[in-house]
């Protein structure tokens, strides 16, 4: 296995090869050990300055990146603005170039426009990490999901993962599909017909509109939130009806023939896609995902800093 990545930026899982994914996940394993030690810090990125540039609201992803950066001893600055205020005034490129002028080495960016990190990566000298670009990709989330599945079930080859919920507006779904397929897992997406893109089936995945069918089929259920804030037009009648037909309860999980692993990228809308008792059940590895997120992001930043 090569000991460096094939890319200078982490724009999406689409651009990674199998070796890149394995390298990141193996490196993350080492970092997970580090963050469970009494002294959770290593000096690896002591000379590196990283800016977390968030044009969209985020709590957990930004916190996770910031902790990962601090545990690698990087210097960290944070910039937050809503997409619309940027649209009115300064351009994305100007904003980032201003930050880079203050001698920043790496940009972690969340943005509501698909492709925004790709746009940036071709125009600035710093490494770019995509922390979510609209409805396109969220690569570190997919990597931490794979890491968490690996930790629980071992090698992903042949494993069945169902992604359940709002697929159309999810960057997590797309990155997970790419990531899981590259590791040999089988993928199903499940949700209301209007929340699954028409051409999704051509990506070599299974499609279901019946949540029980999905749960019966899978080894892992990765449940997504309804992205109401990203829905510019109406896709389904009500959250009430959604939760009645696509919500997952503990009873549904307990009634399955075999145990499955329950995941969620957060934040959970309790009572909508998951009932509280399901989210808090022994099936759930949701908090492990959060912990692993820091380790995986440390691995990504560490490996990109070598490029």
């Amino acid at each position: 296995m090569a000991d460096s990545l094939s890319v200078r930026h982490l724009l999406g899982i689409k651009d990674l090869n199998e070796n890149d994914i394995n390298l990141i996940l193996d490196t993350a394993k080492e970092f997970k050990e580090v963050i469970n030690r009494p002294i959770k810090k290593v000096p690896s990125l002591r000379d590196i300055t990283i800016a977390n540039v968030f044009f969209e609201n985020s709590t957990r992803t930004r916190l996770s990146f910031e902790l990962a950066e601090k545990r690698l001893s990087a210097d960290v600055v944070n910039f937050s603005a809503s997409g619309s205020s940027v649209k009115k005034g300064e351009t994305l490129l100007d904003t980032v170039n201003n930050i880079l002028a203050m001698k920043v080495d790496m940009i972690v960016m969340r943005h509501s426009s698909p492709g925004a990190p790709h746009y940036l990566s071709g125009r600035i000298p710093a490494n770019v990490v995509n922390a979510g670009d609209g409805t396109h990709e969220h690569p570190t989330q997919a990597l931490l999901d794979s890491f968490s599945i690996r930790e629980k079930l071992g090698d992903l080859a042949g494993k069945r993962v169902a992604i359940i919920g709002d697929i159309t507006h999810s960057r997590v779904a797309l990155s997970n599909i790419f990531c899981l397929q590259k590791q040999g897992a089988e993928v199903m997406v499940c949700g209301p017909t209007t929340l699954i893109p028409k051409y999704m089936s051509e990506l070599g995945i299974k499609i279901s509109h019946d949540v029980r069918e999905a749960l019966n089929w899978c080894d892992v259920a990765n449940v997504l939130r309804i992205q109401l804030e990203r829905q510019q037009i109406k896709y389904f009648p009500s959250l009430r009806e959604y939760s009645m037909y696509y919500g997952i309860s503990k009873k549904m999980l307990d009634d399955l023939d075999r145990p499955i692993v329950l995941m969620h990228p957060g934040p959970i809308n309790r009572g909508v896609e998951l009932t509280s008792d399901a989210a808090d059940s022994h099936h759930s590895i949701i908090l492990d995902q959060v912990e692993n997120g820091v380790a995986v992001r440390m691995a990504v930043l560490y490996l990109l800093a070598q490029m």
Binding site: P114, Y199, L203
Partner: protein, 429 residues
């Protein structure tokens, strides 16, 4: 002024000289003499060039002039300069300016500003005020003021009743309605062709269905409003069709004798949606680049005559509208300068005669312009070119730079145009 074209191959399916390599002597805007070894007197401009070809001047049915209102993107002078460099002696300008071409004074402004230019400019007037799709403009008045056709340009007509009424209203003066077919409710927030590629890129799609529905609908409305009439000039013209099914619908309508015509934007013949993988905003265009099968169908449609003409869909956008995030960027590509090069470089089986027919003969028929033929005594409205010469599109004469061909090498070079007694040499090659 006299001009002598030395050893030029005449490409004009309608000319008795078609296919001949010969000299042409032009004087005072007319072709005075065609023949071999014509003698050049003093003070005559001699144009000699390897592999020199000459055809009747080309016509572009769809150009955004941007003036008045968006002069920082293009203006009436620069658009004429760009058109001449692209080999166009005649261009029709879209009405989507600010104010829109929905009144005589804006129309008069465009005519006045372009009067003396070697490129002849034909303003298309808006069907509705502000091209907003609601209230009719004074169409008879605009017709008499010189509107060459009626269209809301890049605002597709949504209201079926409005379309029927417009077709009926234009009939007494043999007016032409041009419409870009698109059902806007199906394309809201869309960024690129809806397909696997849009799914992979997380971009909202512009489904081909949105175009096909309106082509189908408008053909039925045309039949309802005016009925079949195979001898008349087209009454309804579809602008920039992009999908295989649209081609098929129009093919059938023509076979049934509906007075309909259509065009395709040259970039649709070159790119498909896989080109968008890098989020290059210079490839963001509406209609969007569709599937490979659609591109194929467009070429077939050109070959069998279903698609009448090829347009540049020249739509200049400034850096502020393009050098930004993909979903915030404006739609549009500049295309006048590269139409011929792009077409020849990617040509799938069209003969030079067919290309000239599509760029010169057919668009004049659609716009009800006088025919231009290369013959002695005829007007010297000519495009000269070398279809085999390679050139690099290093620099644009447009005020905007939103071309995916910048920096690319193309085969098929325009050498210049001759119109209104003037010769404009293309300095760009």
């Amino acid at each position: 002024m006299q001009i002598l074209l030395r050893s030029a191959r005449i490409v004009d399916p309608q000319s008795p000289f078609d296919g001949q390599v010969t000299d042409l002597l032009l004087e005072n805007g007319l072709i005075r003499q065609i023949g071999e070894n014509l003698t050049a007197s003093e003070n005559i401009r001699v144009i000699e060039h390897e592999n020199l070809h000459v055809s009747p001047g080309w016509v572009d049915l769809r150009v955004a002039g941007k003036d008045p209102g968006f002069e920082h993107k293009e203006d009436l002078d620069s658009v004429c300069v760009v058109a001449a460099a692209g080999g166009f002696t005649d261009i029709a300008l879209l009405p989507n300016t600010l104010p829109a071409v929905d009144n005589k004074s804006t129309l008069g402004y465009i005519r006045r500003m372009t009067e003396g230019h070697p490129v002849t400019v034909y303003p298309i007037a808006a069907i509705t005020k502000g091209a907003k799709g609601e209230d009719f403009t004074d169409m008879i008045d605009l017709h008499h003021a010189g509107a060459v056709a009626f269209s809301d340009g890049d605002h597709p007509l949504q209201n079926a009743d409005l379309l029927v009424k417009t077709l009926q209203y234009l009939k007494p003066f043999n007016g032409l309605l041009m419409n870009r077919p698109e059902e806007k409710m199906l394309t809201r927030f869309g960024q690129m062709h809806e397909g696997v590629q849009s799914t992979l890129l997380g971009l909202k799609g512009l489904p081909a269905l949105a175009e096909e529905l309106i082509v189908d609908r408008d053909l039925r409305l045309l039949d309802y409003a005016l009925g079949k009439d195979p001898v008349s000039a087209p009454v309804l013209h579809f602008s920039t069709i992009s999908s295989a099914r649209s081609v098929e619908l129009i093919r059938r309508a023509k076979a049934q004798g509906l007075p309909v015509s259509c065009d395709v934007a040259v970039h649709q013949l070159v790119f498909d949606d896989s080109a968008l993988a890098t989020f290059d905003t210079n490839l963001k265009v509406d209609p969007p680049f569709r599937s490979k099968a659609d591109v194929q169908a467009l070429w077939y449609g050109l070959a069998d005559g279903t698609i009448d003409t090829i347009v540049s869909d020249h739509n200049p956008q400034d850096d502020e509208s393009k050098n930004i995030e993909f979903d915030l960027a404006d739609f549009g590509i500049t295309g006048l300068e590269t139409l011929f090069g792009a077409l020849v470089s990617h040509n799938q089986g069209l003969s030079l005669g067919q290309i000239v027919h599509k760029l010169s003969v057919r668009p004049r028929q659609i716009l009800r312009l006088l025919p231009v033929t290369i013959d002695q005594g005829q007007a010297a409205t000519l495009t000269i070119f070398n279809p085999e010469r390679s050139w690099t599109f290093a620099q644009t004469l447009s005020k905007s730079k939103n071309s995916p061909f910048l920096g690319k090498t193309l085969t098929g070079a325009v050498l210049g145009i001759i119109n209104k007694g003037q010769f404009v040499q293309n300095a760009g090659i």
